[in-house]
Symmetry: C2
Subunit: 450 residues, 2 copies
């Protein structure tokens, strides 16, 4: 088994759009080889959010990524499948009070925690998801259980089992299936409650400024008898011309969504049989409207996993993070998976992030497009093609890419003693929301002796 974090050079590429700066990190091919026979193999890549990670927080984020990798690898070593391993990684990430998933999630407008999570199995192509779920410590467990129950076939009386449940119904289903309820007070942490109070105060101030501006505008309009701008769709008076519905002054009171609390978490795994799985979990945006569901719950948007098939030479697994609405509109997880079927994984991912995300016509009206992805693709091949006796190995390419300031990742193979972690950052001068960072590596896994 060989593994190497393949960062060897950074270059700034000219891009098609003047708004986009691409940072390319060349992935080195591994140069050494150490085979360890007779062990279970597999690989995991996790992330603790695409957003902004200060140096002071970096240590804790790296630590939780390391633990998440270890949990997944323990599962793989015990012979568990990719879906079980990816769930184990997610549970560790959800349990951290520092990430915006499970415990310590962002609070919504009413001060409640509502989580989104989903999981996809590359072998069966089944999917399980929960949205706006309260009162369950590990939302990913419910998503995984939905996936598992869905694989058992129809329910009694020919009913189709659900793959996506939301709100109170999702909570009831989880409890009915033996997943314990968790009192809401336990999931909110000192950090999340303090952030909620700060955000609420900012919101009150912003709304006060907005009210003042509206009144000022009304007075001006009645003086000038100016015509009102109507909304293109509903015909009601539009606030669009006010910028952020209250002018630039309100930007001073922007919430903390862009400074570390955007930390949706995710993981991608390949097991010893070459099956891939992906999962994602998120507490959503700070002060979101109750009932708001983001990309982490949505098919094709939060995660994607697809084993190699008739039309897919590679197995691929993807998990996304960032601004939910941006990731939804671009169906980014599936888009990345499709792109990764071409030969050069690095180039395919870079082009997808540039053209299908930052440059997407679906996000043309956005000032900046914030997101990040972790991807993994694998295929069976011979390590030394000239040695026909050699057992085929599993070639795993893993990459992460983000348009946010930074992204914290960890990765590990079943033969490693411990996980490697890394905080990827945009280079100095690159603008978050308009530039892309991309890094990754390659790992060869030799099939275990049967």
């Amino acid at each position: 088994m060989i593994m190497e974090k393949g960062i060897s050079s950074v270059e700034v590429l000219p891009s098609k759009s003047s708004q986009v700066t691409a940072v390319k990190v060349v992935v080195k091919e591994p140069e050494t080889k150490q085979t360890q026979r007779g062990k279970r193999v597999g690989f995991v890549l996790v992330h603790a959010g695409a957003g902004y990670h200060s140096e002071s927080k970096a240590k804790e984020y790296k630590h939780v990524c390391k633990r998440a990798c270890q949990k997944a690898i323990e599962k793989l070593q015990a012979g568990a499948l990719a879906t079980d391993a990816v769930t184990a990684a997610l549970i560790e990430l959800e349990d951290s009070p520092f990430t915006n998933a499970g415990m310590g999630s962002n609070l919504n407008l009413l001060g409640e925690i509502e989580c989104d999570a989903s999981i996809m199995d590359g072998k069966s192509l089944n999917f399980g998801a929960v949205g706006a779920l309260s009162g369950i410590k590990n939302p990913v467990s419910v998503a995984n259980r939905l996936l598992c129950e869905g694989q058992k076939g129809k329910l009694s009386a020919g009913r189709i089992p659900p793959c996506f449940l939301v709100g109170e119904g999702a909570f009831r289903w989880a409890v009915d299936h033996g997943i314990p309820a968790c009192p809401p007070g336990i999931m909110a942490t000192r950090f999340s409650l303090a952030a909620f109070k700060r955000n609420k105060r900012k919101l009150e101030l912003a709304e006060r400024v907005e009210t003042d501006l509206i009144q000022l505008k009304k007075r001006r309009q009645s003086n000038e008898k100016g015509s009102r701008v109507m909304c293109r769709t509903c015909g009601r008076p539009s606030k669009a011309n006010d910028g952020s519905r209250g002018g630039d002054q309100i930007e001073l009171y922007s919430l903390e969504n862009d400074s570390g609390t955007l930390d949706t978490v995710g993981a991608v795994v390949v097991d010893q049989e070459g099956n891939v799985a992906a999962a994602v979990s998120s507490g959503g945006l700070a002060l979101k409207h109750p009932g708001r569901v983001g990309q982490a719950a949505l098919y094709g948007c939060g995660c994607w996993a697809e084993n190699t098939g008739a039309h897919t030479p590679y197995s691929t697994a993807v998990s996304t993070s960032g601004c939910g609405e941006h990731l939804v509109r671009t169906i980014l997880a599936r888009e990345c998976s499709c792109a990764l079927q071409t030969e050069d994984a690095h180039q395919a991912l870079l082009e997808t992030m540039q053209n299908k995300f930052i440059g997407s016509p679906f996000l043309a009206s956005e000032d900046g497009v914030l997101g990040g992805v972790i991807v993994l693709r694998s295929c069976r091949c011979s390590a030394e093609p000239e040695l026909s006796q050699e057992k085929p190995t599993l070639l795993v390419e893993f990459l992460w890419s983000h348009t946010t300031e930074s992204m914290c990742v960890g990765y590990m193979s079943a033969q490693d003693g411990k996980a490697k972690t890394h905080i990827s950052r945009l280079p100095p001068g690159a603008v978050a929301g308009q530039s892309v960072a991309i890094e990754g590596g390659v790992c060869r896994l030799e099939s275990p002796e049967s």
Copy 2:
């Protein structure tokens, strides 16, 4: 303006899979031309569900499709945009007690109505959706309002407006935005309550049979000391070998989801400026688990609308109906839209239904794949290219396709006095879930005098 329902021949095509029989209905090019200048133009195509429509119910379904078309055209004639017109059509379809959307929706396991709906605007590419929404008479109105509010830019304090809300949170948002609450008792109809009681009785019987079978099996297993089959993913004892978790006998107690109550409704519209919009609304499966969200709420799955752009020569609008889980896994609305960018719309849709729906690897484990779509695509062109003085016209191609027994559609242009309706059926011998019916027509709309 010319319009003609272009069914001229039916042929059974050999297909790649022996399971698939394709029914091709050749669409005739229009042969006559009657221009009406100075009027607002536009076109609407609606459907009242892909499922099974008995002759006795056909009249009412056609009637509601006709009314829905008229409502949309009235909006277009009043100068409304495509999103307003498509919403007006959907409201009419939701208000019918015969369709499974809004009023008269299927009841869930607890006897409640929970609706899904979504809308997409081809011009702005914005999207609005609600899932598992109770207590609102017209779920599509809330989806449209979410779309509209989303177009106004950020909320105070830089918050991103939600595009997808579920459950109680969606209800609160709707009421806060002036959409009146509707007592649940009003939305359930005599028909839906009677169906609920019949289905509940069937479920009780099925569960009783299932319990008996499980006990019988346990006794056999303890006698034979047979090994238990474990679930591939969760490791718990699997019921997969029981067929529908209770053997074939339970199929006798199948619910009424396959006999008319699968009637998700939808509409696609193109307005006089060539802007497209699509919408979908559904009460979901009968006796679904509370909180279950189906394709009608999900981005890319329930509806899609995309104006012509740099990479899209045609404007396209799609709305889907059928088994939610099948439509979700194949992201069918977006898949159809992408396919419709090739030259032959009919062939593109047929191939999509055959290869990306019935033949999808994502549905490989399904016995039958049930769904239907209505699609519309338009492009600007000159009706008589040799006459350079002639005003450019809007060429609208409209198609419907289904793998269900039947599908009820209606269509109308702004110049028509009344809508045309049609119940499309699979030909005799074709198997629902394995065969495709496809029909449609072409319509030329001349731009109004400015």
